[in-house]
Symmetry: C2
Subunit: 384 residues, 2 copies
DNA sequence: ATAAATCATGAAAACCTTTACATCATCGGA
DNA sequence: TCCGATGATGTAAAGGTTTTCATGATTTAT
């Protein structure tokens, strides 16, 4: 059904002659550039108003269509003409108005980044990778800090729905609230989840292989001779924690080590949870020789607790983290950990999103990068 | 002078009748919405094409001008009409196309952030403040990572010159290369420098009062009884270092303490420079009782060096930093330092920029916030 | 009762591009 | 010599807003 407006008779206005509007348009060029531009070429950039494609066209003596082509499809214009246009562009200091272009092309060359906490150093390093790849391909980055607030998530989606952004990078681990209700995926904007996958939805994902990384970490401890290895950060409803714990279990299982359930300790990934976990070990009186922590923050908590109890690390206890956050190397003892390739994660995620955006089929909708074992001083052979 | 195009006779084309173009426009609404929208209201959002203001107008039975007014100046339309429009907006799922709006309004409600290193945690915390204030005022943030590369700086300026961003927040401490040559400030886009001022140019600035902060820090050490206080991070051509050293000198001068020039040590603010500085002290054999460091990274270097030499901190040496970076509390001993109000800096900078953007006169073109003394465990009375 | 001010609304311009369609010139081949 | 293909370029139509000016109707002031 088409909605048709029916005007009442009294409302059917007749257009009025307003010749000055036309006149204004004709005078525009002069109003803009003022007299003397031709002579004072250098002065062009001094004008307050920006040059438009029309100014360039007039100066080069061609139509605006030709100017546009000279810029966007240079092969389609004759050499001599192109030179004139380029010259005119230089003289006027013309820059394409991105708004007009976006309006016409229906794409903005902008990507919206939705992150729960922009201040998180883990995030900001990935951001650098995202930025590298985006700017290489001529895309700009728009950042949205949601603080896990659904209303802020919805709010930021306006950039998508208002055409201000073409695609979406998700750090939040869940669909933004405004999109969550959509029954099918068909209407979702192009997006890629990074760092944390979106569960239950088939959203393209770029992240680190947490299972494999944790397995490598645990195997390193085993290779050093540890048998009683605690896992700090049990949280089965958090995907990252769950996968890392799986990796830990796989490694121990592979080495034929029975896991003492008292060595699996809850933790939400904060430094404080690590500290509490270590204390709990002493209460339980079921001490391990090594702590494999779900992340570096947790590991730092463990180390702080052990230091406070005056243990000599790593002689009496080994500790491993995961992430390689920036101060992992500064704590005493410096932390042996699994390094996340954050820069590459960012690049890979942006690459995947831009592929999607171009309408091409990506090689794979899930990219898992390997974490790298970083050897420092928080791990040694047990029982010295 | 107006550039006038003179067409040769052969080029004066006559427009051709192409009635289908008109037809296409007339059919647009139906093509877009398909049949049955009226009946299937909930289905409106399911259409691929987004609703435009015209669709809303048709559905509400008013002109697009009235729809625009109902949205932007609600008081200017009659109550009954406004309700109809709002209803139609809800039914179509209409969102204003930001590109069209920006094109027309000549402003994008976007702010470009130019930072040398987006991954720097110091930066990212300020960013959170910027974001808070910006999103409160309906502005979006566009980030540009320049890595101090002039060509990247110039490149990012395209967002300004193409109207994709209305204003600029500068973290770089200098004008972006593309703007640097401009002889007068008149042509600079609205911008605010944050964290580091732009020297030699009258650019509005928001930062911390480095002089005052360093003075408070030094006075704290003096109040603990220290007299031989080293300053680590002498670098007179860096504004921040210079000011903090001035504050240190002012405090010592105020307390009547002669400064031993051997206690002033070069440093570029890196952890490594702190470590080297501490080593140098031992070489010079002119040991202080306390180290006032130009920033926390330097202080960490000093602490690492002293720990490595098996000194007992803070009993044998006190160390103070500046910044309160996130791991200042995790190193042993935890670092007494001056906390930068980063969140507030971000907010204040954005507030200042938006004031400028609104064409209003700001209260002050320079905002200096006070750093806060954070007492931890790296400072004690000397000579125990 | 009439003139003047106010109110609600519409038509069309303006913002600045890109691009579909059209035109003319030129060149190569028959 | 003529015809078709190709190449260079122009015209005008989108693209979706906001806003100026105009119009009648209604209210207020005289």
């Amino acid at each position: 059904m088409i909605y048709v407006k029916v005007y009442s008779e009294r409302n059917r206005f007749m257009p009025v002659e307003r010749p000055w509007l036309k006149l204004r348009r004709l005078l525009k060029a002069e109003l803009r550039w003022g007299p003397g531009l031709g002579a004072e070429v250098e002065g062009a950039v001094l004008q307050q108003k920006l040059a438009t494609i029309e100014d360039v066209a007039a100066m080069a003596g061609v139509s605006i269509a030709t100017v546009s082509r000279a810029i966007n499809e240079p092969t389609k214009v004759a050499d001599a003409t192109r030179r004139r246009v380029i010259d005119a562009i230089a003289r006027t200091g013309y820059t394409t108005n991105a708004m007009a272009r976006s309006l016409r092309m229906r794409r903005s060359n902008m990507i919206l980044i939705l992150a729960p906490d922009v201040g998180d150093p883990n995030f900001s390093n990935i951001l650098v990778g995202l930025e590298t790849e985006a700017s290489k391909r001529g895309y700009g980055l728009l950042i949205g800090n949601t603080q896990n607030d659904p209303s802020r998530e919805t709010d930021y989606l306006r950039f998508i729905s208002s055409n201000q952004a073409d695609g979406l990078i998700l750090f939040t681990g869940h669909l933004p609230f405004g999109l969550a209700q959509s029954p099918t995926e068909a209407r979702l904007p192009p997006m890629v989840a990074v760092n944390e996958p979106v569960l239950g939805q088939d959203i393209p994902f770029v992240g680190v292989d947490n299972f494999e990384g944790a397995r490598v970490a645990a195997e390193h401890l085993i290779s050093q001779g540890h048998r009683r290895i605690a896992f700090v950060g049990h949280a089965p409803n958090r995907e990252i924690n769950r996968l890392r714990e799986e990796g830990y279990r796989a490694a121990l299982g592979g080495a034929g080590i029975q896991i003492d359930p008292r060595l699996i300790i809850d933790g939400d990934g904060t430094t404080e949870s690590g500290r509490a976990a270590a204390e709990l070990m002493f209460v339980r009186d079921a001490l391990p020789t090594a702590f494999l922590c779900v992340n570096d923050a947790t590991a730092m908590g463990v180390i702080i607790a052990l230091n406070a109890r005056r243990y000599d690390l790593p002689r009496q206890f080994s500790v491993m983290g995961f992430d390689d956050i920036s101060f992992a190397s500064f704590i005493t003892p410096s932390l042996t950990t699994m390094k996340q390739p954050r820069h590459r994660m960012g690049e890979a995620a942006m690459e995947l999103l831009l592929t999607l955006l171009a309408g091409e089929k990506p090689k794979s909708r899930e990219v898992l990068l390997r974490a790298e074992l970083i050897l420092r001083n928080s791990v040694s052979r047990p029982g010295n």
